[in-house]
Symmetry: C2
Subunit: 555 residues, 2 copies
């Protein structure tokens, strides 16, 4: 319900205090425009969950006011939640050509492509939604075709940068449009939302050009096969590998389904240029001399099922890594993935390969797609916003970004470090954050979508301590136990299990009898009491706390 039409409101449903599941929203008048709808991958404590997406209850409640979804670029943390969102709120989706290519793949998987409305935009487009006039500007990132968004409302202009760096020598001329950014800044920016991923890192983000030069050096020296692993979505990196292969007259094979798919989309839409005849099939690799072969594959983060891990364990049909082959990790390990990566590095060395790995600064084979501190300062300087909300980062990154903003002239108190669900309302050019809307996580597990806290708690206890089931066959009507309880353990080990079983047997029967005598014979009560007594007994005798599951069966 909107009481005041002269207020522009900004909030996030994901992306604040976290890296992942970005989803931002602008409300003006009777219209809500959503920017991005990503997912997040669970860490190890979220056992068995596939994906986390933003909880969009607020938007569903206000469905009739949600007008459009605008997407800044095609990374998972910006598009991964789109199918789930559209299934609940079907609005037009605005995105660039390459981004739409990736979104279409997802919508096809979820079988909703046909009923979706996808509208292609570019940096010259204008979109009018209610009183909001939306324009775009090119930014440079580690995937093609990225845009920042300027939302011009009667109250003022709100800018969302999308993800960016300032690479002035990018591959394939994907230059950031600094002139347009200055024009936007000069017209006046009421509030800027800018991404904070590398706000802890001093200096400027190095240029893609450096990687190209290093790749060429290695390719020139390499005597046998060169295998390069990188993110399939990093089309500039792929272009650099193609260029190095071209200079050294090597053929190129692609390993990994996402690599093959993205290269296809990128070539079709004009984002990647591979000389005619360079691409070969996997099965052709062994027909050629090794010094004529380049392989590009997925798996740079150590993913078990991806191509690189399978190559490192000799589990990839038709392709072997042999002594003196060179393997290049052209992607830094994302925090959390380091041990998966070093595990593969070990295997590759055992196969006799030379391996180039590590962070970009140590290997020279990777540069970040996110701006370091000076890039972030530059964006703030070009936009000259009155108010600032650092986005796309964990708390310490947002904190550092605020310090950067203040260092280039954003007034103290004009930066809002907020949480998902906090709302910033701007009225008569004054911004305040005084209210919240519902927000949270929605878990996706196989085909289930929902809130799964209880499932996770169970799994966690079972995974750490194991489980002990007590099966008691009873005749419910006569309130009689029919035979001795059966004890089954899973993932729970004890040297003295038979002794333990005797004790648990005794305690179970005692518990049931006591309750019977006290006329407390409800099955819930019996289960609770047994659970409590057995848990205590097991803990005293084994120091362990497996999950106790009493099962009363009515025979």
């Amino acid at each position: 319900m909107r009481t005041n039409d002269n207020v522009v409101s900004i909030f996030a449903l994901g992306g604040l205090n976290e890296i992942g599941k970005n989803m931002y929203a602008i409300e003006y008048g009777n219209d809500i425009v959503i920017i991005d709808c990503g997912n997040k991958f669970p860490d190890e404590s979220l056992l068995g969950i596939d994906l986390i997406i933003p909880d969009i209850s607020y938007l569903v409640e206000n469905k009739e006011r949600v007008r459009a979804l605008i997407v800044t670029h095609g990374h998972e943390d910006h598009i991964g939640g789109i199918p789930f969102f559209l299934k609940k709120i079907n609005v037009p989706v605005y995105a660039t050509s390459f981004t739409l290519g990736l979104i279409e793949v997802k919508l096809k998987e979820h079988r909703i492509l046909r009923e979706s409305e996808l509208i292609e935009i570019n940096s010259d487009s204008t979109v009018q939604i209610g009183e909001m006039n939306i324009t775009f500007f090119k930014v440079n990132h580690s995937i093609p075709d990225c845009l920042g968004i300027a939302m011009n409302t009667p109250e003022g202009t709100i800018v969302n940068t999308g993800d960016f760096k300032f690479d002035l020598t990018p591959a394939n001329n994907e230059r950031p449009d600094i002139h347009k950014m200055v024009q936007i800044g000069d017209k006046g920016v009421l509030l800027l939302l800018s991404e904070s991923t590398n706000a802890e890192r001093p200096g400027y983000t190095p240029s893609e050009q450096m990687v190209g030069e290093n790749l060429e050096k290695i390719f020139t020296q390499a005597k046998r096969k060169v295998i390069v692993s990188t993110f399939a979505s990093n089309v500039s990196r792929i272009q650099q590998v193609v260029n190095a292969a071209d200079k050294t007259k090597r053929k190129l094979a692609l390993l990994g389904r996402s690599m093959v798919n993205v290269v296809k989309v990128a070539m079709e839409r004009g984002y990647l240029f591979i000389p005619k005849g360079m691409l070969i099939e996997t099965r052709d690799i062994n027909e050629l001399s090794p010094e004529m072969v380049t392989i590009m594959c997925t798996g740079s983060q150590g993913e078990t099922m991806a191509a690189l891990n399978r190559l490192s364990t000799g589990n990839f049909r038709d392709v072997e890594i042999l002594p003196e082959d060179i393997v290049i990790f052209a992607a830094g390990p994302i925090p959390g993935n380091e041990r998966n990566v070093t595990s593969i590095v070990d295997n590759l060395y055992k196969l006799g390969a030379h391996v180039i790995y590590g962070s970009g600064s140590s290997s020279g084979m990777h540069v970040s797609g996110h701006g370091y501190q000076e890039d972030l300062r530059l964006m703030l300087t070009l936009m000259k916003p009155k108010y600032f909300i650092p986005i796309h980062g964990e708390y310490r990154m947002l904190h550092h970004h605020r310090i950067l903003a203040e260092s280039v002239g954003v007034e103290e108190d004009n930066t809002f470090i907020i949480k998902n669900g906090d709302v910033v309302d701007i009225e008569n050019s004054i911004a305040r954050s005084t209210r919240t809307i519902p927000s949270g996580n929605t878990y996706v597990d196989g085909v289930d979508v929902g809130n799964m806290e209880f499932v996770l708690r169970d799994r966690k206890q079972i995974s750490e301590e194991g489980m002990l089931m007590i099966i008691i066959p009873m005749n419910k009507q006569e309130e009689k136990v029919l035979s001795e309880p059966e004890f089954i353990s899973r993932g729970f080990v004890d040297q003295n299990f038979s002794e333990l079983r005797e004790g648990m047997n005794r305690i179970t029967m005692e518990t049931i009898n006591e309750l019977h005598e006290a006329n407390r014979y409800s099955w819930n009560t019996i289960k609770k009491q047994i659970k409590r007594s057995i848990a205590q007994y097991v803990k005293e005798h084994t120091k362990k706390e497996p999950m106790i599951v009493p099962i009363l069966m009515d025979i």
Copy 2:
């Protein structure tokens, strides 16, 4: 059984292809000497396991020939397995004063201190075991009182470096004894075992002195409390903090049980010097002005139960972190712990503290205790060994260390990259690796010690996909099912569980009937078949693969 007395044999039971659970052995004649006995901490995939220690079956089988355990220093990955080892093979333990202090604490916990024989040594000691004459030399590391070991046998001298770096400006004068190392090298080293932890890092390991200078700078500028988190065992680091506190006239409180314990041991044995009156109790902190307070605490690796995490969540009695306090992580995050650390950093920023964190090279508040490439080259140069076994590292580290050895003159083919259990036999100065002895992991889970592969597999599947129990009450003699099966799920969620239950019911009954008609009525067969059919059904209908547990109950 020994056939040839003129052979010296070297092998590892832990520490090769891993970081952790170091355990090395030298056999000569009728005598086996063990060097170090450590543990390893499990990674997230080893659910619910507390510790991993080396499998010592081979030593237990040859118990009568095991003569002594010599310990290089007091880190967990060198002493953590000692109590379990001594319980099976009780031999004299030789270690320096500080190392013994830490070992005694463990033996007390395991209640075997009284029956253990602990012999204090220093770098001037000599130990004679059979025909092995064992001498020692001081090395410098991130814990006091570390030794390298030279085992002089009639065949030649075998040297184990222990863990080391070459810090020529260490705190508390714990200088590496380069002159003695040269003497050993000049006399002739047949085989060197040298630690490989930082073999991937070029250059020299920076000195502790740099940290001291940086600490002093921060302490001088700090306006309120300074909280420093570091490893309790890093006594030099603690000394630097004490020095900085002294220079800025601050008092010092210690938080965390291991911090208190180690400081006590270190002061008593003369390894740490704290000015009289500097130490205060936790409860006195609030009596003082904040600029007079230093706190040193455990938890630099983000450990949930340690002091720093509890401070960051406001859960430490008597002590609060307030705005403008400075928190220093004077320890780099060990690979794998990065996200636990950044989680605490976020909390500290939310409390308004200034935080200094990150790797040593970015924060300046930490230096490694392990030698970089030039330190490792220096050791190889001083020792001039004929043969070389790189130890204490994952494969890629051992690989890099071999390259370093060859770069300073160790002949190609004279470096052995071996696995735990591989044996290197040296006879008439020729070394070969042609045989293996049993080796592996022993898991410690609460009070259980044993091999737990099956328990871990169960837990892993349950933790990722959940579990589905099918309880079938039967009359075994009459071979009849008495009532409908009961389905219980834990950690397994499905939107259509009732539909699923109907289908599983049907399949279960069909399976039992089919087997009955085919006269295949053994309970094992029934369980196997039900498990197979239900697993397939569930996978087809839910895309999930919970662990299926059929339970046949004889009523």
